[in-house]
Symmetry: C2
Subunit: 321 residues, 2 copies
């Protein structure tokens, strides 16, 4: 087995460059191999920048995920943040901290998965950095662009807005629970809602937007705090995968808990002004299933049909530390 230390930094960078090059077109004036990457974007755009990391034994285990899926996941979780801003991806950079005895094929597999997913999403890998470390951590930086002044923000909700969510929630938490109980099917790689976010950014009457990575209540909480408002949502209207309740019961899980606090679904949670299009028209505009789950209020957070009273400040969801 060839290790990271056997190939060395420059051997690895050369291989990464060859993997990434085919996707590096479009806005890329200068890709991997110089002191920095150079991009040329169309005029009249605001730049959108975000970064997210996956750490070994915290966010993934080599045993339970192929390197290619890991690379695709790393890109997806970052693209989800771009989607929540209504931005179009432009390029990404990988900062990889690696143990010297890591099999080089793992890193190159991550890069392959990342580059392939990046080519599909218009988000080429244009640079990065390799550093020695005791454990693997992979930080990805993603750059996107949105029409000037059109970025969707967490803080733009107003009392009276209607609250929507794309797709369905709880599925990722269910898959993780299955995996933890010895299940064989791998965690699904999330599909970032890029087109939906971009369509929402163009929609007259769009309010605030956030992606649901930490759990519905946690991320709704972020949105409400940033906007200085409250909300009332209806658990019965929170969209869930088919057969969700039965699957939860088989595993002894509380479906309401997974819907409200399960993370990593990477759907978009957004608000629209009262006079804006309803779910049917939104679905057509955004090109994805959308469900209306509640309304923005002046203050507080009420969950109708929730499994127990929700106290402010304890929204559940993923804890990073």
């Amino acid at each position: 087995v060839r290790r990271v230390r056997d190939l060395g930094e420059f051997g690895l960078v050369g291989r990464i460059e060859r993997i990434a090059r085919p996707g590096a077109r479009g806005p890329v004036a200068l890709g991997i191999g110089d002191d920095a990457a150079v991009l040329r974007l169309p005029p009249g755009r605001d730049l959108v920048l975000t970064t997210d990391a996956l750490v070994e034994d915290v966010h993934f285990r080599w045993r339970s995920e192929t390197p290619g899926r890991l690379g695709a996941r790393l890109l997806a979780v970052n693209l989800s943040d771009l989607a929540a801003m209504g931005a179009r991806p432009a390029a990404c950079l990988l900062s990889a901290q690696l143990p010297p005895d890591l099999p080089a094929a793992r890193l190159l597999g991550v890069v392959r998965g990342l580059a392939a997913a990046g080519a599909r999403s218009g988000c080429p890998l244009v640079g990065g950095n390799l550093a020695r470390a005791r454990e693997t951590s992979l930080a990805l930086l993603v750059l996107g662009a949105v029409e000037r002044g059109r970025a969707l923000r967490r803080g733009a909700a107003r009392a009276g807005d209607r609250i929507f969510v794309t797709g369905s929630l709880g599925g990722a938490a269910l898959a993780l629970a299955r995996l933890e109980r010895g299940g064989r099917s791998p965690r699904p790689v999330p599909i970032p809602r890029l087109r939906a976010g971009q369509a929402l950014a163009r929609l007259p009457g769009a309010g605030a937007c956030i992606d649901v990575s930490d759990g519905l209540l946690a991320d709704l909480g972020h949105l409400l705090r940033a906007s200085g408002v409250g909300a009332e949502i209806d658990l019965g209207r929170v969209p869930r995968p088919r057969g969700f309740e039965a699957a939860c019961r088989r595993l002894g899980l509380d479906p309401g808990r997974l819907l409200l606090a399960g993370g990593e679904d990477y759907e978009l949670l957004f608000t629209v002004r009262p006079g804006a299009p309803g779910a049917a028209l939104l679905r057509r505009r955004l090109g994805v299933a959308v469900s209306e789950i509640g309304v923005v209020t002046r203050r507080g957070l009420r969950v109708r049909g929730g499994p127990r009273p929700i106290r402010p400040g304890t929204p559940g969801g993923w804890r990073h530390f």
Copy 2:
């Protein structure tokens, strides 16, 4: 002592936001606290993106560096890459992987040092990510801008170009050697040659450029490979700090080795076309000391006055793995 886990992600992000906010003006349309940062740059610019990381016990030790200096260093090593492209800084994002029991003051100290240095360099901290890990690693992403088509590249050297370096080399390696032998004075925080790089990008007759982070021969090697050329340099003309040879002798170090292979000086190594201004005029234009150390040839690398024959492919310098 308050630990990272005591403050939690949102407690830390709130503190980081308060530290970083005063510097977040200029191109920053939306800073820390949303799904992504939003920047609005002047038109007619190419974007320049680079990332570099500092890993605990590999690139730094908490015992021998204050958090503030570490933050300033993290920014400086990244800005040096922007300088080598001739770019002006615009913003940075911090991806911090942290053990939960890390004293929170260390992270906040890093952010303070980073934000203060960023405010001085026009490079505000606009976003990032915090993730749990077993060891601390800090990856910084820096975005800059350069006039369209003006970015300095490694691959632009031509046979006949004259080779220059800013400032002096060997000083960082000497400081590190002193520290390793029990010295008390901390490693100097490098000063990225931003203005020199920006002036060089505007200079008619500028050739290739790279920053000297891995060591003169290693980085010259990168530049020559990217350009498909060779070089002849003169060790006697490589600029060094005052009293360098005597200080090396006291520590039993070979000064030639430190000049050729010592890393982390973060000076600019660049070439100019044969008819371009000489050292005196370059010095004035670039606003920094510059020394002519050799000439670009068709192939090979010769070092006059070198301590031993230089074999291609073994240029010395910092090894990352």
